[in-house]
Amino acid sequence: MRIGSTVNVAFRALRRNKLRSFLTALGIIIGVAAVIAMVGIGNGAKAQVEAQIASLGENVILIFSGSTTSSGIRTGWGNAGTLKIEDAEAIRREVPGVIAVSEEIRSTTQVAAGNQNWLTQVLGESADYLDIRQWQLADGASFTPQDVRSANKVCVIGRTTATQVFGNDNPVGQVLRIKNVPFVVTGVLTPKGLSAQGSDQDDVVIMPYTSAMKRVIGGTTLRSINVQVGDARSLPAAQQQIISLLRQRHNIRAGKDDDFTVRGQQEIADMATAQSKTMTVLLGAIAGVSLIVGGIGIMNIMLVSVTERTREIGVRLAVGAHGRDILSQFLIEAVALSSVGGIIGIAFGVGASKVLSVYQNWPTLISLSSIIVSFLFSAAVGIFFGFYPARKAAALDPIEALRYE
């Protein structure tokens, strides 16, 4: 027949037992809500990581000094001192498309002002560094290329360092003692928040790399070089040129390994996104299990319902229902339960995500695709788990069913 009548019949049957219908749908409600919320959290985390990667700056190539091996102990990237100031100069001069270069060294150092002291990250950079990172000053001014040439005792500090050392005072113009060398704070940076790895990017003192080499950290080699390219299309070419330039300058023969590492920002971003994607999949999978459990709940209730309603099925068959009318009735009941459950679950999931964002400060991101997919999935769960009970109902013999006690 007459799918319209069957829909009518199915909804009448569901209305007849509202509590049971609701409890059956509850499994799906919870499952879909869990999927929406979990995937929302995962996507939110991914978006946050992507934002952090973007905060590294646009079209940036990072070159790290190679690692050293001494008595079999290998240090990490940036410690071998293979990158020279002249390498940075050469990149600036010779690689086309490069618009900014920053020589970088870093060290964890105790700093002090007045009677406060604080262990923080000291970065030596060129004057272009803040531009490359797209990092604005909240107050004061940055150090200048002149400061870099003269290795002046000036620095800008991050928000965390400012609060820890100067409290509520304005640090601009004040003296910060770094390894007992007095530096003048020329500016305070706007907060950048946590890095993709979870460290506080605002717990930092940034000074000319020349000053850092001469007065604080010592040494003459660079840990890394930050290079910014004018546009994204010239990025791969620039990366290749930097590699061949540095190999040539370091006299590395063909077939030998580089003594430095070049990382495009894209690679770093890909790595981080892959991680958060793994997390999203994991969360989604856990939530998906609850959705399947919800589906089994539907099958369970439908099976009980077929047994309990054997006589009803007998009457329907006796008054002229075909087997497939019964089949579609039970299927429609199952699908109606699961899709209504799915819609309610979507509402709950979106609500739960909003609550988590507001009260737990977790970033959540609900995508339309996750809503559509979980709705279709819940409907599919209804069809899948409703089919067996429905077929069982449709195969009943009317005489047996009518006689069933």
Binding site: E312, R316, A318, G320, G323
Partner: protein, 249 residues
Amino acid sequence: MNNGTVVKLVDVHKTYRTGEMEVRAVRGVSLEIEGGEFVALMGASGSGKSTLMNILGCLDRPTTGQYFLDAADVSKLDRDKLADIRNSKIGFVFQNFNLLPRTSARENVELPLLYGPHRLTNAELRAKADAVLASVGLSGREEHYPSELSGGQQQRVAIARALINSPEVILADEPTGNLDSGTSIEIMGAFQQLNDRGITVVMVTHEPDIATYAKRNVVMRDGMVLNDLVVSERRKATTELRKRTDEHA
């Protein structure tokens, strides 16, 4: 209504096989029922009357023999075709009423229409059901659930459901089995009324006094027709009911 032969069985056999055992429930029944008849099918349990009833109701097919319903051979039809025949030509009334629980009298009566060939609107369904309910004296009870109705009223809802598609024949299986004697007479009255309107009624019963409300009694034994006779002293439900009220007065 058809006034020729409505039901014609020609040497119908029905054999069940349960494992090694072979049960010959019906062994060669030939029977003709004219339009407008009121037949009581009688017999002890195991006489084959229920099996014969299932065959008459197109719930089951004869193993051999032929069954003509309204001049069409239905003995070889498949499951779905039989369902369509049941929907359009047969109205069932059961011993235990078999109404859907938690479903209003009206929706119970509408049920066969939902499986019928015509797609009706809710308003049309409602109008038809209410009219049939009124014809069995249940106006005003349309919204009641079966649990809110007496046994006699429930059976009348079932009769209304059987009538909704204007069937060729009403098949009643022990329709008074679950009712007290007073209500049983009322229900027999309802059947007599339908029969007076020209509707063919076939009723299974094992109670001889209930059988006397019919016009013709067919008695079965061991899967065969033992007796087939016209009821000589037919009782009228209206008279019986009046007698009972007089006795109580």
